[in-house]
Symmetry: C2
Subunit: 271 residues, 2 copies
């Protein structure tokens, strides 16, 4: 049972910006978490029309009782320049999905789409450090997860994408930022891999199979899938059949909410 949401004159505001916006779950999820924690704050949806984004953002960030912003499609990359400083992940992939107001009224941004996987795994007692990863998908979610995996000190990441050039570009970017991690483009899951993560859209369709060629998995392989679906994806079913542990889209979302709330709270406690 959640604490009731209250909105008063002194309530601090957080907003999620997107276009469209009606589909987002963050206002519900975060407002409930604030209420449960006794924080007088809510997250409201802001439908920012794409063509007005650059003109609107500076004005919106000037609202004096706005303490934080969440950013969704299609603004994650466009929002990055509006932050005065970026966290390492945002810096590496050039996109943000959360910003907070600092005590000097400047804005800091970071990207939590990838850390959600690491926190989600952590919440389930799974280790990331030292694993040899294969990652399907080099788009927005894939870039963020690759960066989070490298930050969490995996030994290596093989990046697999139908768009080979996109995979190569991501490998180059990550190599510069994480010289200690072995990065390569790949076309299938090779032997020795003990972490398989899907960050491609495969699995969102009801009849979708695996995101690529995946051999039988050892039981100590950890499997992740960004897809949020009511029934387990083919990849999660494959993991279960192989006796593996897994982190699904909901686990990642939960991990991401935790990580963003910590990010927001750090600014409030400094204020």
């Amino acid at each position: 049972m959640s604490a009731p949401i209250r909105i008063g004159g002194a309530t601090r505001l957080y907003a999620i910006m997107g276009d469209p916006i009606a589909q987002v779950r963050s206002p519900e999820v975060f407002s409930a978490r604030f209420a449960d924690a006794g924080v007088d704050a809510v997250v409201v949806p802001w439908h920012v029309p794409v063509q007005r984004f650059d003109a609107l953002v500076p004005a919106l960030l000037s609202l004096a009782n706005l303490d934080g912003v969440l950013v969704t499609v299609p603004f994650k990359a466009r929002m990055a320049p509006f932050a005065s400083r970026l966290g390492a992940t945002a810096e590496c992939i050039g996109a943000v999905n959360a910003l907070r107001r600092e005590t000097d009224d400047s804005w800091s941004g970071d990207m939590f789409d990838g850390i959600g996987f690491v926190r989600g795994a952590d919440n389930k007692g799974e280790r990331i450090r030292g694993r040899r990863a294969a990652l399907f998908g080099a788009g927005g979610a894939g870039s963020a997860i690759a960066c989070a995996l490298a930050s969490a000190k995996v030994e290596s990441i093989d990046i697999i994408d139908v768009d080979r050039a996109r995979a190569d570009a991501l490998v180059q970017r990550l190599k510069a930022a994480f010289p200690g991690c072995a990065l390569a483009t790949a076309s299938a899951v090779r032997k020795g891999i003990d972490l398989v993560v899907n960050a491609s859209p495969v699995g969102m369709g009801a009849g979708d199979g695996l995101p690529g060629e995946i051999p039988p998995l050892d039981a100590d392989t950890l499997v992740g899938d960004v897809v949020i679906s009511d029934t387990p994806t083919a990849l999660v079913r494959h993991a279960a059949r192989s006796g593996c542990r897994w982190v699904d889209g909901r686990d990642m979302l939960g991990g991401q909410v935790d990580a963003i709330l910590s990010f927001f709270a750090a600014s409030r406690s400094a204020g």
Copy 2:
């Protein structure tokens, strides 16, 4: 028992703009009314810094899921030019306290500070039409109430203000808009008055007396006082002792909330 407030991605936004903002009660009051009516909408506080007002307003009004705005101190007059069209009261006094988005995305504004008194009286079964009014205070609240009284077809209004020039200016403005109403500046409540309204700040202080010279009142005199206070003001006590009915600050606020919700709903039902 109110219905719980929920905020989701599809929730429509209303905001109250002011500087400062923490003291406003509208987010609580209106959000509860929306929830009770089953309308998926909330009112949130927007602290718009005074010096940024003109730059921020056009941006804020561009948020595509913003359906209405409430306006409080010090923006009621400055907000009027941002409406594409003004209601009669707003037109007459050059200030707005509520705007709604129309189906063509333009904004209509009106001033409900005065209609609150008329609706508050109506809610208590009291007639306004045909009365001979004495009104203390020719400031923002007084102007709005004078205009609402004239619209509600009182026979006459005597306007009493320590700043005589301000009272004269209001009389001139109202005369042009309401040729059928007898308007005059006065210095006291004269014989024959059967409606006495205080729209001055007198009564806000704990030890305040009456807002001016007020003779014994006939029991059929209706008394109004804009002051919202936990204990009855001197004017309300005077009314009670004289056997009069009265409309106090809370009654007016209730009447105003009703009037603004009707104004907002008219736009939603057209959409």
